[in-house]
Symmetry: C2
Subunit: 559 residues, 2 copies
């Protein structure tokens, strides 16, 4: 991509993606002009298969910490984890004002409470315009798989920017608040310098179906069913939960809520008025036993097959209040997130084995995506008509496909900026181009309380340990003579079942002793040399006997 | 399921699935009558995410080993790993005759060579009937994603059995050898007591497309393309490789083969006459540099994104002979096997980043399944018209869905036998029912040279080690005084990066020393007690400081 050469003394508006490019998750974008920085979203992502033991992954905040005086605030487009999940970690570094809609901030508030942090939360309404430093941010209602989502039109000294947030085009959203197309068209007419737009579904042709279609499928399932119905879905999809409750009420069923995050979100949504539930519909999950099957719906977490979720525990007869029984109808109102296919399949198998009727997105229209497909992306591009375009939120394949869509609509290839996290796009009047510098934008791994303290060496060790376990060789060495006075002993973990492999372990011990004797005979007494000799000899012996390579750890104690 | 009560002195034919039920992979079925046992297939499966360090999983042979005198032979339906992959391990226990078609045995032969084993291989032709002990086995041509696949009609004293093997119904197979429907109809008219049929695609509606459709897509891609074309597919899909080569020849391109298994299978298939390649079409992969892009096709392994495969190495600039360059067309002629979605996506992203045009099954008809969908299953059921039916080859959800299909076709539910590996189905004249006994049918894990020596304890340790690593506390204790004379020292692996966490490690050491001093002050000197005290204290300290639970291993040496 071209470097933008600038006249001396010109201050560009910098657009710096810190997350969400070449990945699904941890979305975060920084805008900077002179002494002002504003942030859009601050999400987490989940660890990949090689990140052993890692809980979550967050963006690298070091550029913001370095420029802490400049940072004037953060605005959130919606309340999904990949947009708000890293906020507690950001606030521990920078206690900046947070702007967002009511549901979004409600979810952030819960999160901060868990972390024991206070935050300066400023509630805004879709349609409202706020100032964050030099940036004038207009918030516009959009539709997504969570209520109260917004997109952003940002007035900057270089021109108007537009950020879609996550979105789909739902003409019939459950809350009756569709996207304000007229406002988008107005922006397009005014002239947008740069658009950043969601690329998650750019590979999918056509349109994403409306949330209403799920409602229709639900009604068809409920109609005439005499069974107890359990529905697993994403707790944050308040619209879907509302629709399930509406359908339950329509067919005279009570509703019980199961799973910690579902209970939390439902309580929050009731409190904030996003969920409307008639009196006497909700029942405690512990009090469902006496309700006839045909009068009950249970809404639960676990739609991704998470092993500790309420649904997985019900499927494994490991749930206190609910046991799956023959005849139950279980609906997975979700699609497996890439990587979760197997855990979802495990739960489906267990539910079928228990005699439940399982309905999932492969066999019924029981889930719709929250992201725009190709035709919807074309519509947004055609309304906003930006001069420059940066595809965001997606792996490289998604960004590239989104770029192709823009190109097919007539945008010059040079005006499409496929970027990496940490690259800087400079904007000056009517122009956009790459800056020479990059900012740090690594994936920061969180393990327990540790943020960034697990690096590649630790991960490599965890991987090696997971593959073949470890063998410890321990011996005490007399400091006066330099000779072994106790051991060598051999201890293993995760290598073989020792009781059934005593011969192998005894031989290994002999190999070590023999090698040590040879070292002494050769006059070798320095510890590093002894350790290496033992390690190499044992490694070769074990590999020859087993074709495995456990971690080998010689420990010598001086006495 | 009902137990079949039998008259005294009646000998049933026993059908014992040893693998392939409630799982995808390690297909194996045992048939037994009096003193004769025959085996159908002997496949492997791949480890699931929780089987750390395991290479492959094979069936439990203990029932066969216990009855070794009875085992008269094994017949193979086709040459895929999930049907032949465990044969070397079986032969190490029982050197029985192996029957199969030419390509199947060619692939088995390669496998045995790698393991340094001789096998008694007996080549049969589709259509041929052989005797295996008391069983008369008729082999019938079927169509699947590998050449030379057969299904089996087996005459037993209890009646006629039919086993589909893996199959799809391809009316236009590449080799021009469709299923012999007339023969199947004849069998149906004669009366089949029990059918076992492939359930892999039972959840998919409609029909699986013919292999020909892939050929048409290929032609459309080749036509007019000036680019170098790379195609990754399953090496065992000889028909597809033939089709790719035919298309290359049609458009005047040379063909190079890349990847060990692809080279092996192509050589075998040429040798056996399954691949027909005109002279001067094949070129060495190392000699492709001088061939113009538009005159070259590279057929490679790696269609599942396997990190060490030829395609993955090309995508990572880690392949000696081939570098992906801007403008290359890369075709993934495959679908991700469940669980491989992420690795495939990683390779697609890397290829796009290198500037290649990537074509994969999400965006073009460039792959077809090898398994029958619902309508094809209906056809087989309607031709064979079995009295009893056992769905095989699939997870529970697939078996159950297949059972539903049979029920919808009119089969009484009692006649459908959804079984577990190790259960025994007894067949007597016109009757089938469960036997009281079960046979061992666990998943036997292979790790390096070890077969079955990694059990749950070892796996649990590997999992724990992978999550938070380990901390070793080591000390020498004077045997005369019972007091510590060296240490305690603390060593960790996979826990934290020690250099950046010296404070934590020093504090941990202090915690251990303090606890040991307290033990001594309390008069506690037995080793088990000391170890437990240290372990608990350190565990609590580490968890409080880090919210992590590494494996803690106290080692005391007596000097």
């Amino acid at each position: 991509m071209k470097i933008l050469e600038m006249n001396k003394g010109t201050s560009p508006v910098k657009v710096i993606p810190l997350g969400g490019l070449n990945e699904i998750g941890k979305n975060m974008t920084v805008l900077e002009y002179k002494n002002d920085i504003m942030i859009i979203d601050c999400g987490l992502s989940f660890p990949d298969d090689e990140m052993f033991g890692i809980d979550i992954v967050i963006p690298d905040f070091s550029y913001l910490i370095k420029n802490r005086e400049k940072v004037k605030g953060i605005i959130l487009t919606h309340g999904h984890e990949d947009h708000i999940g890293a906020i507690p970690y950001l606030l521990k570094e920078l206690n900046i004002p947070i702007y967002g809609t009511r549901l979004t901030l409600g979810l952030v508030g819960n999160k901060l409470k868990e972390h024991g942090i206070d935050g300066k939360l400023h509630t805004i309404k879709a349609g409202q315009t706020i100032k964050i430093g030099e940036f004038k941010v207009e918030t516009i209602r959009t539709t997504h798989s969570i209520a109260d989502a917004i997109c952003l039109a940002i007035d900057t000294p270089a021109g108007l920017l537009f950020h879609t947030g996550d979105f789909k085009i739902d003409y019939t959203p459950v809350d009756g608040e569709p996207i304000d197309f007229r406002r988008l068209a107005d922006l397009g007419n005014r002239g947008v310098l740069l658009m950043m737009a969601d690329s998650t579904n750019s590979e999918r042709k056509g349109y994403t179906a409306s949330e209403r279609t799920v409602g229709i499928t639900l009604e068809n399932i409920f109609r005439g069913s005499e069974a107890r119905i359990l529905i697993a879905t994403f707790s944050s999809n308040v619209h879907r939960v509302q629709r399930i409750i509406d359908t339950a009420v329509m067919f005279g069923r009570k509703v019980a809520i199961s799973g910690r995050s579902m209970v939390n979100v439902v309580n929050l949504a009731i409190e904030l008025g996003y969920l409307k539930i008639p009196q006497n519909v909700l029942v405690e999950i512990n009090k469902t036993k006496n309700i006839p099957d045909k009068e009950l719906v249970i809404i639960t977490t676990g739609s991704q097959g998470e092993p500790m979720s309420a649904l997985a525990r019900m499927a494994s007869s490991d749930h206190k209040a609910v046991q799956i029984k023959r005849g139950d109808v279980v609906i997975l109102s979700s699609s497996p997130v890439p990587g979760n296919e197997k855990t979802v399949s495990n739960v489906v198998n267990k539910l079928f084995e228990k005699g439940a009727e399982v309905i999932y997105s492969d066999i019924a229209d029981i889930h719709v995506s929250g992201h725009a497909c190709e035709e919807e992306l074309k519509l947004i591009h055609s309304l906003i008509k930006p001069k420059y375009f940066m595809p965001v939120h997606g792996e490289y394949r998604h960004l590239r496909q989104h770029a192709m869509i823009a190109e097919h609509l007539g945008m010059p290839a040079d005006n499409i900026k496929i970027m990496r996290n940490g690259q800087v796009l400079n904007l000056v009047k009517d122009k956009a181009g790459l800056a020479k510098e990059e900012v740090p934008a690594s994936a920061v791994m969180v393990d327990g309380l540790g943020v960034g303290d697990v690096g590649n060496i630790v991960l490599r060790d965890r991987k090696l340990l997971s593959e073949s376990g470890l063998i410890i060789v321990v011996a005490a060495i007399d400091k006066s003579t330099g000779m072994i006075c106790s051991g060598p002993d051999i201890i293993s973990r995760g290598f073989v079942y020792v009781r059934e492999n005593e011969d192998l372990m005894n031989s290994a011990k002999l190999v070590v002793s023999t090698r040590l004797d040879k070292c002494y005979a050769d006059g070798l007494k320095d510890w590093a040399g002894l350790k290496n000799a033992v390690k190499d000899e044992l490694k070769n012996f074990i590999f020859e006997k087993t074709k495995r390579s456990p971690v080998i750890l010689p420990i010598f104690l001086e006495v």
